[in-house]
């Protein structure tokens, strides 16, 4: 007992902040393990003493991070010699990562999941859980145990989309590595709640990308390709990914409500990858997928339609085909998909995406009336009036009887005029002085040149 206490003192000395470079307290891996094992907790799942944690300062409350959460920590990493090799405080910024995803050392993923918010601890990591046989050039010798001091500053759920519309927190991690891709068939159990009220609870199978057909919101569908077999997670959905501004009569959900789904992915069958199919196969399923996309489009489910059309693009964009006939077919499929995507994005008001998709079409077929027209519409709505007008004029060159384009051109012209006037008003005050001066200079130089000076 006494021996252990003494060792612990040494440990505290060793990990103390000021002591960074001293070589006078070297420790071998064995005595370090003994020391940590005496005071600390083995946090590895298979209890091999690979990561032993000593809590220095317990956290606040019982809440712990869940797998995939974005966690913020401060840390100092040291060799057993006491030498610091990495420290977040030296950089004056805390360190962020998604826990349990293999982004960091194994020891970290294990340890952080065992911590509470605000907790500070010291952990001893065996090489297998840290830098392994190779070590880290210039910093960590091969096969070294290392010590980390760590403080869990904060954590929050993982955002699955750029617009923060879907947040996930994983309760139970799934097995293996594969995820259901678009077109995969999945078996799930789900429970939907809105403000604490359970509105949906069932086992259901659906095709990824087509969850809509089973009354499952887009957010759950989009989360599928981030889940593994057996995973149990909670999804926090913003209205855009749930029931939108319409709400849902069936589930008695009002407009613009946030909802929460608990999902268990029981099983799935992946759809074939693009490279696993030959051209013939792709052409066969093309028709069905396009049809599905068109259905969603007609129903006003533009985000769902986009998924279908994008599948088509992903199959054909890398396909080169042999012979003219095949190439022509590939191009036709791609053109259809891009044109439809442009239309969807136009409805979704994602104008730069409209322009991108139209550009893809125009690259292969510069006189494509629809693409030019749609690009014009997008540009008009993006207030790029001159570019829009040029597009509509191009449409008229291709098809002089396109009356809609003619009407759009006059809209552009009005807008350009309005815009000029507005500009003038806005800048009038700002540049009044300069404008006056310029006008006079201009006059003047005209006068001068008239006089032949």
């Amino acid at each position: 007992m006494r021996h252990n206490d003494m060792l612990f003192m040494v440990l505290i000395l060793l990990t103390h902040k000021q002591m960074t470079t001293d070589q006078d307290l070297p420790m071998d891996s064995q005595s370090a393990t003994a020391m940590f094992a005496a005071k600390g907790l083995d946090v590895t799942p298979n209890k091999d003493q690979g990561v032993i944690k000593i809590v220095k300062c317990p956290g606040l409350g019982a809440e712990q991070p869940m797998i995939g959460d974005r966690v913020t920590v401060h840390y100092t990493g040291k060799l057993l010699t006491g030498k610091t090799f990495d420290c977040s405080r030296d950089r004056k910024e805390p360190f962020c990562f998604n826990v349990g995803r293999g982004q960091v050392l194994k020891a970290w993923d294990i340890c952080v999941l065992s911590m509470q918010k605000g907790e500070a601890c010291t952990l001893l990591c065996k090489p297998d859980y840290a830098y392994g046989p190779p070590g880290n050039p210039d910093k960590i010798p091969p096969n070294s145990s290392v010590i980390f001091e760590m403080e869990l500053v904060n954590f929050e759920g993982e955002l699955l989309t750029d617009d923060s519309g879907i947040m996930r927190r994983i309760k139970v991690k799934g097995d293996g590595y594969t995820n259901p891709n678009d077109g995969a068939s999945v078996d799930v159990h789900l429970e939907g709640r809105c403000a604490g009220r359970l509105f949906d609870c069932r086992d259901v199978s659906f095709i990824v990308g087509e969850a809509e057909d089973r009354g499952i919101p887009l957010g759950v569908d989009r989360a599928m390709d981030k889940m593994q077999r057996g995973e149990h997670c909670v999804l926090y959905l913003k209205p855009k990914y749930a029931f939108g501004s319409e709400g849902s009569a069936v589930y008695k959900i009002g407009p613009d409500e946030d909802v929460v789904y608990e999902v268990i992915l029981k099983d799935f069958q992946r759809a074939k990858e693009s490279w696993e199919m030959d051209l013939k196969e792709k052409l066969e399923i093309f028709v069905g997928v396009k049809h599905k996309g068109n259905q969603y489009f007609k129903a006003g489910r533009y985000l769902q339609a986009v998924i279908q059309y994008q599948r088509i693009v992903s199959w054909f964009e890398m396909e080169c085909g042999t012979g003219l006939e095949q190439q022509k077919k590939i191009q036709e499929c791609l053109l259809t998909a891009h044109l439809n995507l442009a239309l969807c994005f136009l409805r979704l008001k994602e104008f730069s995406q409209v322009v991108d998709n139209c550009n893809k079409v125009i690259e292969c077929d510069e006189s494509n009336e629809k693409a030019l027209y749609r690009r014009g519409e997008a540009r008009l709505l993006r207030n790029e009036f001159n570019l829009a007008r040029a597009d509509f004029q191009q449409v008229l060159l291709v098809n002089p009887s396109n009356r809609a384009a003619r009407a759009q051109i006059s809209i552009c012209q009005t807008k350009i005029k309005e815009h000029h006037e507005q500009d003038k008003r806005t800048y009038a005050n700002m540049f009044k002085k300069f404008a006056e001066r310029d006008a006079k200079v201009c006059c003047n130089s005209k006068l001068l040149s008239r006089k032949g000076l």
């Binding site: 974005r70 840390y75 990493g77 090799f85 990495d86 977040s88 030296d90 950089r91 004056k92 910024e93 360190f95 962020c96 990562f97 995803r101 293999g102 982004q103 960091v104 050392l105 194994k106 970290w108 392994g132 046989p133 190779p134 880290n136 910093k139 960590i140 955002l159 750029d162 293996g176 590595y177 594969t178 995820n179 891709n181 490279w275 696993e276 890398m318 080169c320 001066r437 310029d438 006079k440 200079v441 003047n444």
Partner: protein, 591 residues
Amino acid sequence: MMKGDQVKDTFQRWRDTREEDLNPEDYQLFRDLGSACLARGDSAQLLEFVQDEKNQGIVKCMGCVIMAPLVDEVVKKVTSAEPCQAAIVYLTRTCRSEELLHGLLELIEDINPGDISQTIIVLVPHFKTVLLRMEDRKATSVGLVLAALQKQMQRLPVPYTPQQEEADEYGLCRCCIALLQFTKCFVEEVKRKHGKSVTTTEDEELRTELLKFCMRSLREPLLEVELSHNRKSYLWLFATEIMVTLSTIQVSLSELLFFYNSLKKSTAMDNSQSMESRASLAYLLFVQLITIDSFPAVFSPIFVLQCNMEYVSELLSSKKESHLLKGLALNAKSLESVQDHSLPVNLMELKSFYSVPQKLRQVLTECPMKHLRESALQVFQLFVNKLDTEAKHKFFRCMLKVSNHAGVESYIIKNIKNHLEFSMESGNANKWFLGEEFLSLLGLVLHLPHGAETDLLNSMDRIMESLNLLRYLLIRDKNLWSNRDVWEELGRMKDEYLKMLRVCLSISRAYYSAELKALKEDQKLKAKEAREAARSIRLSKSIKAKHEEVSDMSPEVQHQVLQSALVTFDLMESLIVRIEEITEEKLKIPN
């Protein structure tokens, strides 16, 4: 031109006039007088005028207009520039900073292509003086100035060789150093303020502008530049300073590189530009190891690889040598830190793990530069080595399906053989290479793309390698295989393939023999057809492309080519015979 007295009168009138009452004519006149004075080489007189106590009113409101001729004078170095320099310095401290800024920006905008670097170097210190005097909208103005300067610098050619960099004929290196000196005080300012708890939007804006500057610098010129550890050149210094600046203004490199999507996108840059900037950043950090010491050491190597593959993919999409070199180096570096046989198959689902090998293949088969092809091949092999068994299996299948190039395919088949050999060592047995799963892979190897009509010369590399693999399979102990069914199926696949190959061989041999005969009979008449054949031979070149031109072959050479085709067929045939012999020998030995 005005006479001396008139000038004096004018000056006096200006001294007595309030600013609001000055006409545009007056501004123009002042400018003309200034220019005329400089044209006479009388810069000292101009300086004297500017500094004269009683002219301060004039200078304060109209001084800006003589900035342009003064700068012009300094850039051209026509006469001794000292008084001009002094006058510029004086003006930058006296005139209104907004007007000065406006004027100087216009000078940059209208720069003469021949004077870019000289003008930038002359103007940068003055920009700094003016900006430091500004009270509001300073951050925005710093941004404007940096953007304008960099826009002009993009027009300067980037040095290609160390000698060119040393000589710095177009002044890019000097401009870079001038920019660093310019940004230094603003960086310091951000650093100073960051310690404080209250940061204003103005401070935040200055930080953003500096971040934008760094991102632009990373893309241009740094993405074009060839840097080397051993040569701490000016551009190396520039790269280092940019990296240091990023951390000084509290931009986390790990957030920028690995978690870009969760970053607040304050930098108004389109996606492809920011992708290039970040790719350049990844290269400087991981390959050139600039500031790697302050980069967190706790990321797992596989995660780093996974993120860097996106950047590699971006860099390899380019046709520029400097981009390709950086992409290959970054790929090699990120792969090296991963242990062999450790990349799991799920990684193959990431888009970049599909696109990078495809882009490597493109470099291997299409890039005209030998050194790039060679290092691409090394990286390709390194990538294969890092995959675990299942991932290798999937990767080989994928490459055989999509590569459409006999050279690449033969390389893959050689790798399959190597991994088979590895799997047969004790402790390495696995179902992917010694079980049922192997059949799907072998099916792709023992495949003639156009059946009996396959062009054997075109696919020669691939066929020879597949025969080699078959021979290897047969001489090894069949008990290594997980079960008997697999072994039997394997035999059946082999028989079918050899049968098809024999048919194919006899068709080809007949064709080429006839061709050879025809050539002998009438060389002149058949010259055209021989050229056709030659063309098909040219297609058959493997990865290590040869450089001879074959379209204008003499009849003797054509003869040789046809002859060597026939020799190739003999070689294939003898391999087939050997395989059949082995099969028979194996049959004779009882289990």
